[in-house]
C-alpha cells in the first residue's frame, strides 16, 4: 500500500517489511524487544509527519487514545 506522502513510499515499504518479519519471528514468539526496526521507523515517521501536515491532518486528533479507555463507544443495552 502507498503512503499518504508520495515521498514516503520507499521508506514505508522498507519499514513494513521489517515490521512484518519482526511481528512473525519475534513478537508472536514472545520476544518483545522492538529495537530491530526502530531506525527505519524513525525516518519513516519523519516523512509521514511532514506529509500529514501537508495534507492538513490534525496530528493530535490522529494520536488520541480511545481504544482501551473509557472514551470507547458502549454497546447499547440489550433489551
Amino acid at each position: 500500500m502507498n503512503s499518504i506522502g508520495e515521498a514516503c513510499n520507499d521508506l514505508k515499504k522498507e519499514y513494513d517489511a521489517c515490521f512484518n518479519l519482526w511481528f512473525s519471528e519475534h513478537f508472536l514468539k514472545g520476544r518483545h524487544n522492538d529495537s530491530m526496526c526502530a531506525p527505519l521507523f524513525k525516518v519513516y515517521q519523519q516523512c509521514v509527519k511532514k506529509a500529514m501536515k501537508d495534507h492538513k491532518i490534525d496530528i493530535q486528533e490522529v494520536k488520541k487514545d480511545i481504544l482501551g479507555t473509557d472514551k470507547e463507544k458502549k454497546h447499547p443495552p440489550t433489551s
Binding site: N20, L28, D34, F41, V48, V62, L67
Partner: protein, 212 residues
C-alpha cells in the same frame, strides 16, 4: 438516534495467521477504495503491541448527501492492540473529519475459537451516528446499510489475503461461506424453478390451446 451493528464471523485460519494477515490485508481485490495506509504510532507496552494507523479512502456518497460533504476522500484512524499471550487482537476504527455529518466507529475483537480449534472468531461492533439536524435519521440509515454491505466485502478481502499468505492451508468451508453458498443455492433453485415455470407455460398453453 445512532445505529448499532454487530456480527460474528469465523476465519478458517488460526489466530497467529489472522494477526499476521491483519497487517497485510491491504491491498486486496475488495479494497480499491483504500488509497493509502500509514503507521503513525507503535509501541510495545507490558507485552502488548499498540499501533495507530492512518488510512485514507475514497468516499462514495449518495447525490443527496453531497450538500454536506464536499470531499471525495476520508481519513480513518485505526487503533489496535495485539496481546500474543492471550491471543487477542482488538481494533478500533473511526473517521477523522466529517464526524458530525456521519461518524462510523468500528470495533473488532479477533480471538481463538473455542468451538473450532485452529479457527479465529471476529466479533464486530459498529456505531453509525450523525448530527445533521433533520437529516440524521436518513444519514444513519444510509450509513448502516452501506456498512452492512461493505462488511461482507471486507471479510472477503481479508480471506483473499489469508489464502494468498497461506495457500497450503487446509480450507474448510467457514460458517460464513456456508451461509453464502446456501443462499446462492437457494437463489439458483429459485431461478431454476422460475425458468421452468416460464418454459412450462407455453408448453402447457400449446397442449391446451383452447384455454389460453
Amino acid at each position: 438516534m445512532p445505529k448499532f451493528f454487530s456480527d460474528t464471523i469465523i476465519f478458517n485460519y488460526n489466530w497467529d495467521q489472522v494477526a499476521q494477515g491483519f497487517w497485510k490485508r491491504y491491498p486486496n481485490p475488495n479494497s480499491k477504495h483504500v488509497l493509502t495506509e500509514d503507521t503513525v504510532h507503535r509501541e510495545v507496552k507490558s507485552g502488548k503491541l499498540f499501533t495507530k494507523r492512518l488510512l485514507s479512502k475514497t468516499n462514495s456518497i449518495p447525490k443527496w448527501a453531497e450538500r454536506f460533504v464536499t470531499t471525495k476522500q476520508v481519513n480513518i484512524v485505526e487503533e489496535s492492540i495485539v496481546d500474543p499471550k492471550r491471543k487477542l487482537l482488538v481494533t478500533y476504527t473511526r473517521n477523522l473529519g466529517y464526524a458530525k455529518v456521519m461518524s462510523i466507529t468500528e470495533k473488532v475483537v479477533y480471538i481463538e475459537s473455542e468451538e473450532h480449534p485452529g479457527k479465529t472468531v471476529a466479533i464486530r461492533s459498529a456505531w453509525i451516528d450523525s448530527q445533521v439536524r433533520g437529516f440524521s435519521r436518513a444519514i444513519c440509515a444510509f450509513g448502516y446499510e452501506r456498512f452492512k454491505k461493505n462488511c461482507m466485502k471486507m471479510v472477503g478481502g481479508f480471506n483473499h489475503v489469508l489464502s494468498t499468505l497461506y495457500p497450503h492451508h487446509n480450507i474448510l468451508p467457514s460458517t460464513h461461506s456456508t451461509i453464502t453458498a446456501a443462499a446462492k443455492l437457494k437463489d439458483a433453485a429459485k431461478n431454476a424453478s422460475e425458468l421452468a415455470k416460464s418454459k412450462a407455460a407455453p408448453i402447457y398453453a400449446s397442449l391446451h390451446p383452447n384455454q389460453s
